[in-house]
Amino acid sequence: MLRYALRRLAISALVLFGAATVVFFAMRQVDGDPAVNQLGPDADPAAVEALRREYGLDAAPVVQYVRFLQRAATFDFGDSFRLNDAATSLVLTHLTATAALAATAFTIAIVLGFALGALAATRPNGIVDRVVSVLSMLTQSLPSFWVGIMLILVFSRWLHLLPSSGAGSPAAMVMPAVTLALPLLSVVLRLVRSGLLDVLHEDYVVTARAKGLSETRVVGWHAMRNMLIPVVTVAGLEFGSLLGGAVIVETVFAWPGIGRLMTDAIAARDYSVVQACVITVAAVFIVINLVVDLLYVRLDPRVRESV
């Protein structure tokens, strides 16, 4: 177990280093110079040159790269070229906003997913099951940016119930969180439904029924308990993809999260912020994957024996 954990940790470090290297050199292949971008196309060449020197962009790429790695090791990614702040602090404030959104969406998906999945599984091919399965197919295939816009249309423009953008109030969280939760909701729901259908014929479920327990107690307690681990494992891995979906949802709802920070920074050629964003997001993924994998090994005795 320890050896496995150490090996995974070493690979993770390597991946993070790889991501840092790729993003550093890839950003420098993008057309457009940050200094020109900031001062405008008609700027005085001398001023552009001075700004480039201030950003350290006049050095050879390799020198810049080494400098970047040295500073990155101390979580210093330099200052934003565009916003008057350090890249690290920008990323941290925006990451908090994204984390709040993702956590809410995750909770919605898990709670609704278990409830609807259990409801569908108790009467396979019943009306509820059919409705739920159509809904789950729709939520999985509809593009989230369009779902978000439709929610804005209905709940902000027509019904005037919820604000269409911003992050000021709890009400502003509702639509972005629901939009973000939908794809994950359909994953959780399918897992719960098929998992329950598998165990509902097992002997211990039959025994529980024979004891005269109510159906709610059989499904909700005896059967459900056995599925928590696999469902939560998959959902944990999917937490990463929530952060991916956040890029789109944050753009639709003008949510001040890391996805929007990154797309804006890419558009403005704000190297330091892009680098900080990519490395942070990569680190978050790696940590989530690592934790879920290790937990899984820890929880399942069969897997524990094999590593």
């Binding site: 593009p143 993809s241 890029v247 797309t263 997001v281």
Partner: protein, 312 residues
């Protein structure tokens, strides 16, 4: 870091798919029971709708020419079914500069289908080649390339696509490249698993004993076994690729402004939600119908090619 869905698809198909309900225990065709009507509908309805989109994408832009720079001030933001200044009928309404939405959407169908097909072809061929290579050779090549695929699959593809698209710049070719970069590992995994399962089966060993070289075995034993699951995966992926293209275009990182894509039209409509709901709504519905049909078709093909994978 294994994706349970692709892993199970990859491991679940040990050979060329055999339609279980059409063969008896002895392997010879038994009396073929007709598929239930619902099952047949699940194949033909989506196929029909998809064919409709292909036709609309192919000949629509020829019949109703779309002019990206034409503007007509009097025809701005007209609701669906309006008569325009030149007497023509705007069945789906007009956009913020007075362009008819229907030709725009048909042009969008063309772009989406083109990008989808090209991406799947590129990602499929490259992914299959890498997967077969890894599965057949094993060793260091396998370890390095598959680890790369694992790492890439652990990242959400849309985030990677946003980054790659930003680095490459927006053009139709670059969208295809971007999406191919994000989808190849799925094909590679399936091809690899399939190759591993096939390369040591009796017929492959027999060919080897008879002196067949690696190339012959790959071509005649492995490829036929790899092809059909890859086709299924390609159908399943088509929906994701089209949504990804629309999302990139929505973020203005995809198809450049001159060519209308569903994603860009929806993005335009976002600013006119209060006054003209149809600009964002209709292309979205068109996109959604297409993706749902592709999804149903993909599920149905998967169920048919491998009954063990049946999800219901």
């Amino acid at each position: 870091m294994t994706d349970p869905v692709t892993a199970s698809v990859a491991l679940g198909t040990p050979g060329p798919p055999v339609e279980a309900d059409t063969t008896g225990d002895d392997g010879r065709p038994a009396a073929v029971p007709r598929r239930p009507r619902r099952r047949r509908l699940r194949l033909w309805i989506p196929l029909g709708v998809i064919a409709g989109y292909v036709v609309a994408g192919l000949i629509g832009p020829v019949l109703a020419r779309y002019d990206p720079i034409a503007t007509s001030v009097t025809d701005r933001l007209r609701p669906p079914g309006s008569r325009l200044a030149d007497g023509s009928l705007a069945l789906l309404g007009t956009d913020q500069v007075g362009r008819d939405l229907l030709p725009q959407i048909m042009q969008g169908a063309r772009v989406s289908i083109l990008v989808g097909a090209a991406t799947l072809l590129l990602a499929g061929v490259v992914g299959a080649a890498i997967g077969i290579l890894c599965g057949y050779l094993g060793g260091v090549v396998d370890a390095v390339l598959m680890r790369l695929a694992d790492i890439q699959l652990a990242f959400p593809s849309i985030l990677l696509a946003v980054f790659v698209a930003a680095v490459l710049g927006s053009s139709v070719t670059n969208v295809v490249l971007t999406l191919s970069i994000t989808t190849w590992p799925i094909f590679a995994r399936v091809a690899r698993a399939q190759t591993l399962a096939t390369k040591s089966r009796d017929f492959a060993n027999a060919a080897r004993t008879l002196g067949a070289g690696s190339w012959h075995i790959v071509r005649h034993c492995v490829l036929p076994a790899v092809a059909s699951p890859l086709m299924v995966i390609a159908t399943v992926q088509l929906g994701f690729v089209i949504v990804a293209e629309a999302s990139l275009s929505f973020l203005s990182l995809g198809i450049p402004p001159g060519t209308p894509s569903w994603g860009t039209t929806i993005a335009n409509g976002r600013d006119y939600l209060a006054s003209a709901w149809w600009i964002a709504t209709i292309p979205g519905l068109v996109l959604a119908l297409f993706v749902v049909c592709v999804g149903v078709l993909g599920d149905e093909l998967r169920d048919r090619s491998d009954p063990n994978l049946s999800t219901r």
